[in-house]
Symmetry: C5
Subunit: 224 residues, 5 copies
Amino acid sequence: MGVSFWLITLAMIGAAALFFLERRRLPTNWQAHVTVAGVVALISAINYHFLTGIWVSAGNVSTVYRVVDWQLTVPLKVISYHLVLTAMAAVSAALFCRLLVSSAIMIAAAYLGAANYLSPTLGFLVSPAGGPYILGELYLGEASKINANSGKEWAQSAFIAIRLIVTVGWAIYPLGYFMEHLGGGVDSGSINLIYNLADFLNKIAFGLVIYRAAVRDPAPERRG
Amino acid sequence: MGVSFWLITLAMIGAAALFFLERRRLPTNWQAHVTVAGVVALISAINYHFLTGIWVSAGNVSTVYRVVDWQLTVPLKVISYHLVLTAMAAVSAALFCRLLVSSAIMIAAAYLGAANYLSPTLGFLVSPAGGPYILGELYLGEASKINANSGKEWAQSAFIAIRLIVTVGWAIYPLGYFMEHLGGGVDSGSINLIYNLADFLNKIAFGLVIYRAAVRDPAPERRG
Amino acid sequence: MGVSFWLITLAMIGAAALFFLERRRLPTNWQAHVTVAGVVALISAINYHFLTGIWVSAGNVSTVYRVVDWQLTVPLKVISYHLVLTAMAAVSAALFCRLLVSSAIMIAAAYLGAANYLSPTLGFLVSPAGGPYILGELYLGEASKINANSGKEWAQSAFIAIRLIVTVGWAIYPLGYFMEHLGGGVDSGSINLIYNLADFLNKIAFGLVIYRAAVRDPAPERRG
Amino acid sequence: MGVSFWLITLAMIGAAALFFLERRRLPTNWQAHVTVAGVVALISAINYHFLTGIWVSAGNVSTVYRVVDWQLTVPLKVISYHLVLTAMAAVSAALFCRLLVSSAIMIAAAYLGAANYLSPTLGFLVSPAGGPYILGELYLGEASKINANSGKEWAQSAFIAIRLIVTVGWAIYPLGYFMEHLGGGVDSGSINLIYNLADFLNKIAFGLVIYRAAVRDPAPERRG
Amino acid sequence: MGVSFWLITLAMIGAAALFFLERRRLPTNWQAHVTVAGVVALISAINYHFLTGIWVSAGNVSTVYRVVDWQLTVPLKVISYHLVLTAMAAVSAALFCRLLVSSAIMIAAAYLGAANYLSPTLGFLVSPAGGPYILGELYLGEASKINANSGKEWAQSAFIAIRLIVTVGWAIYPLGYFMEHLGGGVDSGSINLIYNLADFLNKIAFGLVIYRAAVRDPAPERRG
């Protein structure tokens, strides 16, 4: 299991290097998106390097250390998601606020539950409450309509890929939370493996989708 | 509480990477501003990495180690603040000198008080004396008038955001100083948490406001 | 033998620096290729630095730690290989999928055999099964025809060099697997030396061939 | 006192980052100057990081370790100084040689005295002998005349600032040498503080003056 | 003597930073040369950092660890040397092969002698055999004629400087080999000092000559 921490550390370093180097040749209006994806990967790389050391010495990794990473990277990913939508169509600032607030609730409840400031059962009920809201926006709400009206093929496939990653990837966090705090006999190795997979999907795959959309965008201001 | 040191270390690294990468696509006259914001974040990242280690091994962090960081970053932030004003209108060199001197008084008094070269009570009275002066400049003085005369919407919102950060953020330092040296029963964890929040606000939020102003500036010499 | 780990660590760092710096002056359509080659070298450099430490302290390096690297770098190399083919002619997406799947089988079987989840003999039979398929594609299949139809001299010599590296380099892995798990009296030093040579050939030589092809491509959009 | 080592380490890192990032937007004929200033700061940052560790563990720092830094940075600074003069007017190669030789004498005598290869008193007499010569060049000699004939206001203020830094900064070294080897009761903390101040002035302030001159030079080939 | 390892580590870092930063503003056909010089300095910097640690803990540095570096950097330097010749005139590929083979013989014999796979005396006789051949090429052979026919003043002075460095610098290796393995009473400190000087000359001075030639080349495609 410790190998999976080292694997993700290396993957995050590689992803950060890829995004930081390739952003230079992308269209100007996409560069900030890929920079944010690279910063997410860089922060995760450093935190996973730290988590690897903790795992090797202690044989377990408290979710509190993961929340440190999430407190920085989840807001960045919401910003990233909003930037992708604005690259496709005009998006209301209210949508951005709603996404940010629902993410903040998720992280705060997870942290309070992990650090035992809150009853685990209550944390479980509150934490994923933001999830269905975000999914509702993606499949039914304002964000969904924006996508349908956008005629660009590459933008639609990027939107669908992101929606899939958000659905699958963020569904893993409540699953891990349930296994960790409520489900009785689950070993900590499995829980960490699940969280590692979720981080891999939410950070690296998410960033690659944005990068690919940027490469396919036939923007005229693409640099040589 | 140790987690908050690690959190800020990661946040500073991310901020430094963001500013260093994005400065390339900004208008030329804004690049130096964002470089300075990135250097502030870089220096803080390294110092917070060092502070995290001290906290883990000793369970406390002397304010003397924080002053090392402030001696470098506060002058850089005053320079940064002055550069933002000059990007909006012609500013007198005297205003710059006044801002720099009042900052120097704040840091010097804080250092002398923290290192016990000065009576804590005297340090408390002298240290924040520079604060009201800076706020006076921002709300009533030359800097304030410059802002009112500037017709650019993005510049005014940046000015207001910076003024708010300076008001709230720099008001935290005297509060921490009071709690640390004069207020009796405050544990060192709370004091460090307060200083960490102040640094987060004064360095990362401050830098992000400058970055955002640079992105919104419709300068003709913006690079592709 | 420990010296060979340190040698490859240094070589990978040098290769990563070379690819990251030189990619800037290459034609735009080749930059992503060289970035990927550099990311492969960077990930390997960090993993070999880690392997060097394990070798010095333990006198042996488990193949499990090597598979961590391969799980990231082999898919990147298949992507890289596909990108080179697309730079020469239109390639079907199905070819890419076939190459990726056969590589995934190789790595998965090697990992399961090394970690003792699978009988070593079964692993040996399954693992290199992907190899002949890839070679078939290179010498007889769709990829081979693409090359023959391409009239560019530099592209053909790159294709032949890559085909040679893939043939020789990837043939070393089953050889090492056989020696490690089935061949009786082979010391671990020789096995690691073989794997080190294979990694040197497959990552650095492979990257250099791509880099050289990019330099020789007389693309009009070459940057100054 | 140990804090002053850490402070200068951070300042050198910040200066190196500033010079390396900003050099890109400077006029072409100034880029090499700022690169050299950044390399000086980088070498000093790494050496001061090393000195900080020695100070923490041993409570003292031998001047021999400082001379390692000076052997690299003083010649670079003389080159830098010569480059600034050539940016203003045609300068004879002989002037450059005279400056380099007199600097070499200073460092060699300081090293031989610090490492006890030479009588401290003799070292004290020989070491600063190069200093008056350099000052003579600056105030009375060929370099001085070049400056007077140059009509550029920004160039003259840069020349005056550099002359001041050289006069004050390099005068500190003989002072430290005298205190260390000849003056009786001076504690090593004060001597190191003096050397730290001298390095701060000679490397960071010197570099900032060159950077500022480069920013103010209205060269036509300034990059966007 | 340990100081000389630290000195060269810092010098190599500075040289790598200089070459990597300055290559951007050089003519396109010179950028690869300076990149290679920077990669040589980077690899040496990391290896010397490692050697410094070995020296501090063991008081001696086996030549085997140096050969690790030479196995990578000597071929790079031969490539570099060949690239400089091609920048001056058309050079036959055979010349390149002859240079590479004679270098390979030098390194291989030195390694086999140092690791006791070969009789030291035989190694001494074989190892420098490549040297006279390279010098013959430089002073009398094809390379020499190329230089004489080239009318460019800056190219000729670069050729002469490189020839001098190769003559003096590579002559030091057989001298060190003789002292280490055959000459009786030489202490290891002196031998390491000699090798350090040779590396300084062959890597940093060699790179600086190439850099200077690149700066002086009045190529039309020089970037702004």
